[in-house]
């Protein structure tokens, strides 16, 4: 699974970092960044949760 993040949509809620800290962080302006784009299957739950709880719907998940 591959993470796509639309940084223009991000509102800096921090929800992705809370849900999946191994995959997301916030830069010095508080806007989300993806740490690793490619997610192995055993980590899908965390990353799915990050996408689901993103209030700005800025995260989409696609196939590799």
């Amino acid at each position: 699974m591959r993470i796509h993040l639309d940084r223009d949509k991000c509102i800096g809620s921090g929800q992705c970092v809370l849900a999946a800290p191994e995959w997301f962080d916030q830069d010095e302006d508080g806007i989300a960044v993806v740490l690793v784009e490619s997610v192995p299957e055993k980590e899908w739950d965390e990353v799915n949760r990050a996408a689901y709880t993103c209030p700005a719907l800025a995260i989409s998940l696609g196939s590799e």
Binding site: I11, G12, G14, L18, E28, G30, R49, P55
Partner: protein
């Protein structure tokens, strides 16, 4: 809406009945007008992320929660009352101060604050009012820290904060109190113009993009939105735990930060203290669960009811279950207007719940539970006094 006196933490019966019938209902509100009430979880998410559902309070059809809210927000135009792109422009200027990392960095500061307040409670005897002696000063100090209010001004800030901590009350929106707070924040902004410190005010001054008046409006928003909600979550959360002793024991005996964090999410969901709904107005026609909402019609998203939607939460959503996975709750709202201070609020609540019952394991209510009086008409549901003993 009234709640059943015997079950003060349950949703109002009327709201529950509407939710059982349909996730979208037509309702009549306090000023005689009608609006759409969204009670379903999926429908709430859909409306709150739909750009056609506007937060602009100047648009005709916008439904205010109460006359006081109308007066306050008409005077104080800020982030929650405008749409993108204006909203995004204002929010981006302060996102750095409310990030997950920033909140975690403040954890030791919040811990010290809570420890000092609990020390003072213990030193003063074996009774306290949890709202006035812990929740309000804790929340006030945390907001001073976030805004960058100097300690010399802290007392004056706290005094005004005590009044504003009862959001929506005639006193809290009383123009004199708000004007006093505005004047205090104004002097802080002017000080920061010569010597910008840390915190939201200093950062906005350094950024150099906003005039004083707009920096004051942002600071006032942080104060008005964050202070009361966190204070009431602390008090009402404690009340909920004291009346659910099995759940209280789980928090008191846990040394696992992940469990405390989960407990905070469940308490946020269960209590949903922002209980008057998120208000929107349709800028264009939109359809929700097969219902057509026409341009100009008001929408009230009942996030408290959505947080009790059995389609969205496992088990019995009306029960408090600290082991439940409730992390997708809407207590902080959803969409681009979701609470700016949520990560700070989470950390502060984790600190206070994780500390208070551990340090005072014999904590109990000092009055019978049916003598507690609730504030139904305020923007944040809560009790403005919680006598406790140990």
């Amino acid at each position: 809406m009234d709640r059943t006196p015997q079950c003060p933490l349950d949703l109002p019966v009327e709201l529950r009945e509407l939710a059982e019938r349909s996730p979208v209902s037509r309702v009549r509100i306090w000023d005689g007008s009608t609006a759409w009430l969204i009670t379903g979880y999926a429908e709430a998410r859909a409306v709150l992320t739909d750009p056609r559902a506007s937060s602009d309070q100047r648009l005709p059809g916008y439904t205010f929660a109460a006359p006081q809210a109308k007066a306050f927000h008409t005077r104080n135009r800020s982030m929650p009352t405008v749409d993108d792109p204006e909203h995004a422009y204002l929010r981006r200027m302060v996102t750095a101060d409310f990030s997950h990392r920033k909140a975690e960095a403040l954890r030791p500061v919040f811990q010290r604050t809570v420890d000092e307040l609990v020390d003072a409670m213990l030193a003063a005897g074996n009774t306290a009012d949890l709202f006035a002696d812990l929740a309000v000063p804790m929340s006030s100090k945390a907001i001073c820290e976030v805004l960058g209010v100097h300690h010399s001004e802290g007392e004056r800030f706290a005094a005004l904060g005590r009044i504003m901590a009862v959001p929506g009350s005639p006193d809290a929106v009383h123009s004199r109190v708000v004007e006093d707070m505005r004047a205090l924040l104004g002097s802080l902004v002017r000080q920061a113009r010569t010597e910008p410190g840390d915190g939201v005010i200093g950062h906005l001054v350094r950024a150099g993009e906003l005039p004083d008046e707009e920096i004051i409006a942002t600071a006032l928003l942080v104060m008005a939105a964050g202070h009361g909600a966190t204070a009431h979550m602390t008090t009402l959360g404690t009340m909920a735990l004291l009346t659910h002793p099995d759940q209280l024991a789980l928090v008191r005996d846990s040394r696992d930060p992940a469990f405390i964090a989960n407990a905070v999410e469940e308490l946020l969901r269960y209590l949903s203290v922002a209980h008057l709904g998120r208000r929107r107005v349709a800028k264009e026609d939109l359809e929700v669960a097969g219902v057509l909402i026409r341009k100009g019609e008001g929408i009230i998203v009942a996030t408290d009811t959505a947080n009790h939607d059995p389609r969205a939460f496992d088990g019995d959503p009306d029960a408090l279950d600290l082991h439940r996975d409730a992390r997708h709750h809407l207590a902080f709202g959803f969409g681009v207007h979701q609470c700016l201070g949520q990560q700070l609020s989470r950390v502060l609540l984790q600190v206070v719940y994780g500390t208070l019952y551990r340090r005072i394991p014999t904590l109990e209510l000092a009055i019978p539970v049916d003598q507690i009086s609730y504030k139904l008409d305020l923007a944040i549901y809560g009790v403005n006094e919680l006598p406790v003993k140990w």
